[in-house]
């Protein structure tokens, strides 16, 4: 069991090592086999580890690999810990990761960086597994930085185009802002408790800290900054839309299903700290609500199919933050799981469309793809319906409904947070049915050049099924009630602190959100489904389209001044003394070498003159 647990991250890491060191001699098929095989075996190991836990989420498996850092005041081991929370995470990472590896095997076949792509993808999978299985925060931070690195490498996969490199750099730098804050938070924890072991910190914090203590607030704020950067929440969300420069399967795996939810995982993992800092927990909910609304509006105004999905991802992670903020941890994790299914599915279907139309991203230049690319259409429909949370028949409905009702009924929740979520659900329904009606309906504008291959269709089909039935693990009480998912997680995460009586019951709340979703669908049909799709253009839409101008503000106040300073310092002011020494040496050299004229008689004269001077000095 313990060996298997260690194998889960070790296998993709081995796949990475093989591809990086020996991949040059492998044929293309071999590269794909190694990469997919490594993740497949890892997924099997994960399944064997997780299945015995399914009874009630009990049982924690730990494996101590070796002592990593042993210095006075800090001891961190390379140790893995599997509990209900990490079980959900590794299930999604290996499962969805495997499907995306299978999809990539043919999708990326034409790319010349095939080996590099799969090496990075395997490294990413290993890093993400290390992140969620880490038993201490130092190891978690290592995985955290490694996934950031892989994200950077894969966004800039097509590095020949300068724009891709710029997007990769932006993603790296913006997330690094959060990571730096998070590192400071970890330093504070070490200084306070002398350990980074997660379980030990949680225990000691509850013993030593009073609720609302300044130190607790500082630490949770710093950790939140890290989570906000990684999960692309306000105010560090600007990198994710640009990250769509990477290959589409990368967007599906890293920038939708797994890495961007690392922030959600971090907060859920350190929830005891957040419960000791109620103002910060409220802030988490507010950030989530604000992010989900702002980016839902932005998604409405995009023309690029991948940017629609990117803003949608930001928005859906906003829902998860909202749930975390009101203490509904299992609802956040539930939405994380269903979101991983349907958002990966949407990206994979969009990838097929983009590839078939020769790298066309603009939904207004697509049309009638329903008949021309049926595989992509059904996948996109299943994913879109689940994202919009169509009542009863989709997974997204169950998870989003749980978040909304918890936001209303939790002691930490409020009607305002719930209203923001409901408005967001309305917008979600519009913005995802908009590309569906425009690109897949209407008149044909282009002819697809390529059909989806069998592995691609397989991945899309499996994710479609999961997007539809994946929500049945948690059914609200009003519909019969089955709480398998939250019961599983309650071994690790506390239940929602529900306020006794609320103004609206669970059933009423559900009816309202269902009605709102259907209303959104109706609006989308009215605006985009009937007749030819019309492009709208006004100042408000342009503002939404560029993500509320965050980029422009950051550019003006941060990027431009920095570039300006860098330009001033191009000659390196600090290095001036050293460059002066070098310049002096160069001048002397030039002076001395001028005496080397090559004229024999000059040399003779200077020898004679020198001898006279020396003798004169000696005599006098």
């Amino acid at each position: 069991m313990t060996v298997l647990l260690a194998l889960i991250p070790a296998l993709p890491l081995a796949g990475f090592a093989i591809l990086a060191l020996a991949g040059g001699v492998l044929p293309r098929r071999g590269i794909g086999t190694v990469a997919v095989g490594a993740v497949l075996l890892s997924a099997l190991a994960a399944a064997i580890c997780v299945i015995p836990m399914l009874g009630g989420g009990q049982g924690v498996t730990t494996v101590d690999l070796w002592h990593w850092v042993v210095v006075p005041g800090l001891k961190a081991d390379m140790a893995l810990r599997l509990d209900a929370l990490s079980a959900v995470m590794i299930g999604v990472i290996t499962g969805v990761g495997l499907l995306i590896h299978i999809y990539s095997a043919t999708f990326m076949a034409e790319e010349h960086g095939y080996r590099r792509y799969f090496a990075y993808l395997n490294l990413f999978t290993a890093s993400m597994l290390i992140l969620v299985l880490a038993d201490n925060l130092l190891m978690l931070y290592m995985g955290w930085e490694l996934v950031g690195l892989c994200s950077y490498l894969l966004i800039g996969f097509g590095y020949e185009a300068p724009d891709n490199g710029r997007a990769a750099r932006k993603a790296f730098v913006v997330t690094r802002v959060g990571d730096a804050a998070m590192a400071v938070g970890l330093f504070l924890l070490v200084a306070q408790f002398g350990t980074l072991n997660i379980a030990a910190i949680m225990d000691q914090a509850q013993l030593q800290w009073a609720a609302g203590q300044p130190l607790a607030i500082a630490v949770t704020l710093l950790l939140l900054a890290g989570a906000v950067g990684k999960s692309a929440q306000l105010p560090l969300q600007t990198w994710l839309p640009d990250a769509m420069a990477g290959p589409t399967p990368v967007s599906a795996l890293i920038h939708a299903a797994t890495m961007v939810t690392a922030g959600v995982y971090l907060i859920a993992r350190t929830h005891s700290l957040y419960e000791l800092a109620p103002p910060v927990q409220t802030l988490v909910a507010i950030i989530g609500a604000a992010t989900l609304l702002l980016s839902a509006f932005s998604a409405l105004a995009q023309r690029d199919i991948k940017r629609i999905l990117a803003y949608s991802t930001i928005s859906q992670i906003g829902y998860m933050f909202l749930a975390l903020g009101v203490g509904a941890y299992s609802a956040a994790l539930f939405h994380f799981m269903t979101h991983a299914f349907f958002k990966a599915l949407l990206f994979l279907a969009a990838g097929v469309v983009i590839m078939a139309l020769d790298d066309e991203h603009d939904i207004f230049r697509m049309g009638d793809l329903r008949r021309r690319l049926p595989g992509a259409f059904w996948g996109f429909l299943a994913g879109g319906a689940s994202l919009a949370a169509l009542p009863l028949i989709t997974a997204g409905f169950y998870s989003k409904d749980l978040i909304l009702s918890d936001a209303f009924r939790s002691q930490a929740g409020s009607g305002w947070l719930w209203a923001a979520g409901v408005l967001g659900a309305f917008l979600t329904s519009i913005y995802i049915f908009r590309p569906l009606f425009i690109a897949f309906g209407g008149e044909a504008k282009t002819t697809p050049q390529r059909r989806a291959t069998r592995p691609e269709l397989f991945a899309i089909a499996v994710l479609s099924v999961l997007s539809v039935i994946g929500g049945l693990v948690e059914i609200p009480s009003a519909l019969g009630g089955y709480h398998g998912f939250s019961a599983f997680l309650h071994a690790t995460l506390p239940a929602v602190p529900v306020a006794g009586e609320t103004a609206l019951g669970e059933g009423t709340l559900m009816l309202i959100s269902a009605a709102v979703v259907l209303a959104g669908l109706g609006v989308a049909w009215w605006r985009f489904g009937t007749g030819a799709a019309v492009e709208h253009d006004n100042a408000l839409l342009r503002l939404w389209g560029e993500g509320w101008g965050f980029d422009r503000v950051y550019d003006l106040f941060l990027v431009k001044p920095y570039v300006w300073l860098a330009r001033i310092d191009r000659r390196d002011v600090v290095d001036l003394p050293y460059t002066l020494i070098a310049a002096a040496a160069r001048t002397l050299h030039r002076g001395l070498s001028a005496t080397q004229t090559g004229r024999l008689r000059w040399y003779a004269a200077s020898i004679a003159g020198g001898a006279v001077i020396i003798i004169a000095i000696g005599v006098l």
Binding site: G598, L600, R601
Partner: protein, 102 residues
């Protein structure tokens, strides 16, 4: 008497040395330069002989013979080089040979 001989001899040596140096510095013809060096060597040789005679030591004579040998070797090598130079460049102008500058 011996001191008078020494001082007159030294004056002659200095004049000879100065004349040689002047030739080396002022002439561009390598043959003249070689002759100038020859004159300077003889000036030093004269000083050794004078010193040996003044103090009645054989060392002065010995050193003069050494200087003579060195001068002979120098002329042999120098003339050979000049000959080679003339064959290759068709000139024996010292200022024309400046390839080794810097």
């Amino acid at each position: 008497m011996a001191d008078l001989l020494l001082s007159h001899g030294l004056i002659l040596a200095v004049l000879l040395f100065g004349a040689g140096l002047l030739v080396v510095l002022s002439r561009r013809n390598l043959m003249y330069i070689l002759m100038g060096i020859e004159i300077m060597l003889n000036a030093t040789g004269l000083v050794f002989v004078l010193g040996g005679a003044r103090w009645g030591q054989p060392d002065g004579q010995v050193l003069f013979i050494l200087v003579l040998t060195v001068a002979a070797a120098e002329v042999a090598v120098g003339l050979a080089l000049v000959l080679q130079m003339y064959r290759q460049r068709e000139t024996i102008d010292a200022d024309a040979m400046r390839e080794l500058r810097e």
